[in-house]
Amino acid sequence: MDMFPLLNSLRVAALSSVIVFFLGIFAAFYVSKLNRIAKGIVDVLLTLPLVLPPTVIGYFLIITVGARRPIGMFLGEFGIRFVMTWYGGVLAAVVIAFPLMYRTARGAFESFDETLAYSGKTLGLSNSYIFWKIRMPYCRQGILAGLVLAFARALGEFGATVMLIGYTPGRTATISTTVYHLWRIGDDSGALRWVMINLCISAVVLLAVNMLERKNKRAVIR
């Protein structure tokens, strides 16, 4: 059995999770400091991918980075191509999963007790120290939850992915596109195998989350 879809799915989900993690955190941090009106507007723009159908996102992506579009042509000059490549899958997953990370992280940041940051500053701690050593640990639960949601969403991405990178065995195939493809050509047992693999990954991810949470709780009690 060709394991490429599994590897591809994992690398797409992992890479896009890392990107979404940083993008989401910084967007959340800066948006949580905006005034109410600006926050409302930026929030709508950043959350839009969550409510739009993935195929619509896929359409937007194609008309943005397509080979004959200005941005696509510009990127092509540097040999970067998103259409029909596996890192196109990363781009699609990033756009789709971003709102999940952004929204959960923003909720966590907004519950942060700002006097902790103030006292850190008056103690002479640098802003980046305060961010990584005080704010992030304080908001750890929310950020972790956002990361897990983003990873799960990236792993299961189908609509935008299939529009942007299609299904090419051994090149762009992911688990979800493979399941669809196998079912369409009537290979039900092949589809079932991939469904089971996907179930296993999801179970492992959830188990890891639960263990992490328990460890955190124990640390607090100690």
Binding site: D113, T115, L116, Y118, S119, G120, K121, T122, L123, G124, L125, S126, Y129, I134, P137, Y138, V220
Partner: protein, 346 residues
Amino acid sequence: MSLFVDIRKKLGNFYLDVCIETKNDVLGLLGASGSGKSMTLKCIAGIEKPDEGKIILNGITLFDCAKRINLPPQKRKVGYLFQNYALFPNMNVRQNILCGMHGEKDKTTKEHTLAKILEMTQLQGFEKHRPHELSGGQQQRVALARILVGSPNLLMLDEPFSALDSQLRARLQIDMREMLKEFGKSVLMVTHDRTEAYRLCHQIALVDKGKILAQKSTKALFADPESREAALMTGCKNIMDAEKTGEYELFVPAWGIHLTTALPIRAGLTAVGIRAHYFNSRTNHNRYPVRCVEIIEEPFENIFQFRYEQQDENTPNIWWHVPKDRMPRAPYEVGIAPQNVLPLYG
């Protein structure tokens, strides 16, 4: 060692306009909540930026609008004890205190300072505890230790005892007084509790609606508050309109009595204030017959509410806090020593 603050800041409908000065003293900012006390501290710490003005600490300009100087909080060397102590919940006591001297690179100096401060604040043995495992008083000491290891030039305390229960409060106030003496530099303390201010502060600045009403030595302020607002804020219960009738005499129309004062009365007198503790049934000064309305019993004293015989019906009862062994006997006559008659202006 001195602090000079002269700042203005507009916040919606609220206008903060504060000018205070202190030299190596404990200066208390006394005022109701929402009067701009904490905002003043935040401006001095550099957390909030005033619209205009100047902040100078020990000759170093922390903020000067005209010269476009605005040092970041990290560079101001100002210790700020927050109302909730703001201990970092993800760090233990040791890590929290080390945050206060992250600029110190030498390991042995660090350990030495840490050991010394733990001893001074009686926190030995708690190094590995997290903030939430400590009592309120211990949390306060950790927060203080964390500030003091950085040897700030100014210490600011924001309602330092409000999060503690009242039994602990009085004891910690005495401890704090010792600690502040040892600190030996300028201290700014925000409080709405006049007893606390009286116990800890050499000087008091009264803050009301964003403005400084008065800044005086604590004793002088309580002995001669001068204005109605200041009298109210220092806890004066009985304040009534009055007229000047002589150099040391005034008339209170609503009470129908003349009172002699120890302080010479200036022109512009508008009212008189008499503290609830300062009536006296034994003195012959300012002595008048009164009618008892109600006696409210408290644990260690009684509140004796009375009216003067000629008193206007539309005015409130007069309050007198009497120690239980000093309760007057009927027929009631109440006097006031002249130095306890407070002439109020404006």
